[in-house]
Symmetry: C2
Subunit: 214 residues, 2 copies
């Protein structure tokens, strides 16, 4: 009777429409009761470009001319300040996203990516002002997006496979989705790190501010 206790989830592709416009393909899970369990979006190249394009200006707005105490303070040992995060994002433009996309397109799974040094910025950012880093990031991101366009990616190319040194087989589509999530994750991190500088100053309100204990 064990089978009666398990729920079988099916998947299918559907079009999701919000206010009449088709916006993104999503996967919808459903069981025999027809209940939608979760939706997540499938990658669309125009959405990738749109979100990646916004990140330099968003970081400018959050960080430009901010007092350095807000820029240089982290969450504790082995954590990053907003300044560190920005350096990490620059290093990603240089060595991670477009270079890996090109390795997939040129070599497929026959050549593994060069491992990414997540902490290279501790050396590379040294002595640079936040304004310099913001400008460098904006310039490199613009170049990355230019190069992304020049790859002339098609749905078939997006499914092309590459070899991650630790994760194994990945697709170009997954690489681009990761680029977007990586940007958004670090924007969120910067906001969180900044918020913690007032972790004591909020007094009893700390109980209502989940960002302070994440």
């Amino acid at each position: 009777m064990a089978a009666n206790n398990s729920v079988v989830w099916h998947r299918r592709r559907v079009d999701i429409r919000v206010r009449g416009d088709q916006l993104a393909l999503k996967r919808v899970q459903y069981n025999k009761f027809g209940f939608i369990f979760s939706v997540t979006m499938e990658l669309q190249l125009d959405h990738v470009r749109d979100i990646l394009r916004r990140t330099p200006s968003t970081l400018n707005l959050l960080l430009q001319d901010l007092p350095e105490a807000w820029l240089m303070t982290n969450e504790g040992p082995d954590t990053w300040s907003p300044y560190d995060v920005l350096g990490h994002l620059i290093h990603g433009e240089e060595t991670d996203w477009i270079p890996r996309a090109k390795i997939i397109l040129e070599h497929g799974e026959s050549r593994a990516f060069t491992p990414f040094n997540r902490e290279a910025m501790f050396e590379k950012s040294k002595g640079k002002s936040i304004a310099e880093l913001l400008q460098t990031f904006a310039q490199m991101r613009a170049e990355s997006l230019q190069q992304l366009d020049e790859l002339n990616l098609t749905p078939e190319l997006l499914e092309k496979r590459g070899l991650h040194p630790e994760l194994g087989t990945v697709t170009l589509s997954q690489l681009l989705a990761t680029w977007v999530v990586h940007d958004l994750g670090h924007i969120g991190q910067i906001a969180r790190v900044m918020s913690k500088q007032y972790g004591k100053a909020v007094g009893p309100w700390k109980a209502y501010l989940p960002v302070l204990t994440r």
Copy 2:
């Protein structure tokens, strides 16, 4: 011998200097070994203004003209979409921050704040476009900052006490710090909610993207 196993932490105020400029007063905890345990910043009114001023433009950059699928999707049952968060921030400008500051200044602890309805936006935002909400928020935030200036707050006034209906005694300084942390927390939340739309699309990279499982 139990006393030998406990560490006594002392606190004192110090000036923190980054690259020679004094930036913010912080609290430093230390024990008999002189080890700095944690630092957090004390509230500075010019920092409060500076960070609060940036939020509407940051949200414009993140959300303006974004495909609606990214704006309207949340993290699951009883969670908020970026659209919901924006409505919540607008409601805070209307009923929370400056109104509560005025209650503290006018009534001290003799009158408790009106409880804040965290979910008022589900009704109030109905039928409004994201562009409308962004514009409303920018306008209301500008008015709030104008009113904040007109309160002519002094260090003494910042220590004035008010009565929170659930948390008890709070100070005006704590209210303003909470305003800042609340902004930053919701910016981080919007980035996190967006990132989760590609939670499946990233494939095996999910293991390296902590934002997807927060």
